[in-house]
């Protein structure tokens, strides 16, 4: 199965980099300071690796999930350790870091918007690259154990007989890199289209 994915990794990396650039611009515009996003790896998703990136399987994470619909389908999920997500909320609201201490309605709304900006940027990059019409769903705010969320994305792909591709995404601001993780998991049909493009 890995050979099948190797064929399209280069193409997917281009899409991911473009998406990261767009997301960084959108996010910087929203919060009023430079936040850059880069994509260190495009790889076959292992659920445990994905959880480790946010602190371990049992860690409480906060984020947003979007499904991609239209000509092809897939899944986008942005997750942070809860404490880090609340710092992002402070950043977005222009308040001192540490102000947000619980996942209240404002925090959930802000994280949903963050996921919306970042997820939509990736979906738009994919649409432009492939010449397709794609739509992001409204973001669903997720707040749970990391493994419960990651395995559910993993299951949705494998249920269709496909391989899981995950794109790790690192967010950087003036204070350094965050531990956020963006999981982009195209459905099997989307991978087939990517392979056609790469050929």
């Amino acid at each position: 199965m890995s050979n099948r994915l190797d064929d399209i990794t280069a193409t997917l990396r281009v899409v991911a980099s473009d998406g990261a650039l767009r997301a960084g611009r959108g996010l910087s515009g929203l919060v009023g300071q430079d936040i850059s996003i880069h994509v260190p790896s495009v790889r076959i998703g292992t659920n445990v690796d994905a959880c480790d990136a946010v602190g371990g399987v049992d860690v409480l994470v906060l984020g947003a999930y979007l499904s991609m619909t239209g000509d092809i389908t897939g899944h986008i999920m942005l997750i942070f350790p809860q404490g880090r997500a609340l710092e992002c909320v402070d950043l977005m609201c222009g308040q001192p870091l540490g102000t947000s201490v619980e996942v209240d309605e404002l925090a959930a709304s802000a994280v949903g918007e963050l996921g919306n900006i970042v997820g939509s940027a990736f979906i738009n990059a994919l649409a432009d690259r492939l010449g397709l019409i794609l739509h992001p769903s409204p973001p669903a705010v997720v707040n749970d154990m990391a493994i419960a969320l990651v395995e559910s994305v993993y299951a949705a792909i494998l249920a269709q007989g496909g391989d899981v591709v995950m794109i790790d995404t690192v967010f950087s601001d003036q204070r350094g890199e965050t531990a956020g993780l963006l999981i982009v998991a195209p459905d099997p049909a989307a991978l087939d289209r990517l392979r056609e493009l790469a050929a």
């Binding site: 399987v57 999930y65 499904s67 999920m77 997720v142 395995e151 559910s152 299951a155």
Partner: protein, 169 residues
């Protein structure tokens, strides 16, 4: 918070698709963060043996082969768990069966489209029924992930969520 007395026990993590059986009373089997996955814990209080399997999907893609990870799919996981337990002394009529997981943690749109959690629970329950078994207790569905523990020493099972303490199932 962890379940009572778990600190003194040997904790074995049962990851996605894994199946573990044990007769060690000092062992605790745990499936972390069951989202749409379902954890099936089975215990025979006679010899004090039990097992836990962490099921990802309802059906095997290529028929009931099971492959290298028979615990991954419900249609093979139940059979393999019962066979492995029988091999270490479990007797079917004594088995205590518990199920947890099968939630929809990714929001309503995803839940409506895939229904994986619901289908996992149904597939496991159907396979148990084929063996003449039914769950004694369940913590299924809903929108939150669960961690399921099976304590081999007592046969007790515990469920906790990201925000709730462990409670006996």
């Amino acid at each position: 918070m962890n379940s009572p007395a778990s600190a003194s026990l040997t904790k074995t993590s049962v990851g996605i698709g894994q199946l573990v059986v044990s007769k060690d009373p000092a062992e605790l089997l745990v499936a972390y963060g069951l989202g749409s996955c379902v954890g099936l814990a089975v215990f025979d209080p006679g010899p004090g043996v039990g097992g836990l399997v962490h099921v990802l999907l309802p059906e095997s893609p290529n028929g009931k082969q099971g492959g290298t990870e028979p615990g991954r799919h419900a249609d093979t996981a139940v059979d393999h768990l019962l066979e492995r337990l029988a091999a270490i002394g479990a007797v079917r009529h004594r088995l205590i069966v518990k199920l947890a997981g099968g939630a929809s943690v990714l929001g309503p749109a995803n839940a409506t489209r895939f229904k994986i959690g619901e289908r996992n629970a149904e597939a496991i329950t159907a396979r148990l029924k084929a063996h003449g078994l039914r769950p004694h207790a369940t913590a299924l569905g809903g929108t939150v992930g669960r961690t399921l523990e099976l304590h081999l020493g007592s046969g007790k099972t515990y469920v906790r969520t990201a925000t709730s303490q462990a409670s006996e199932l």
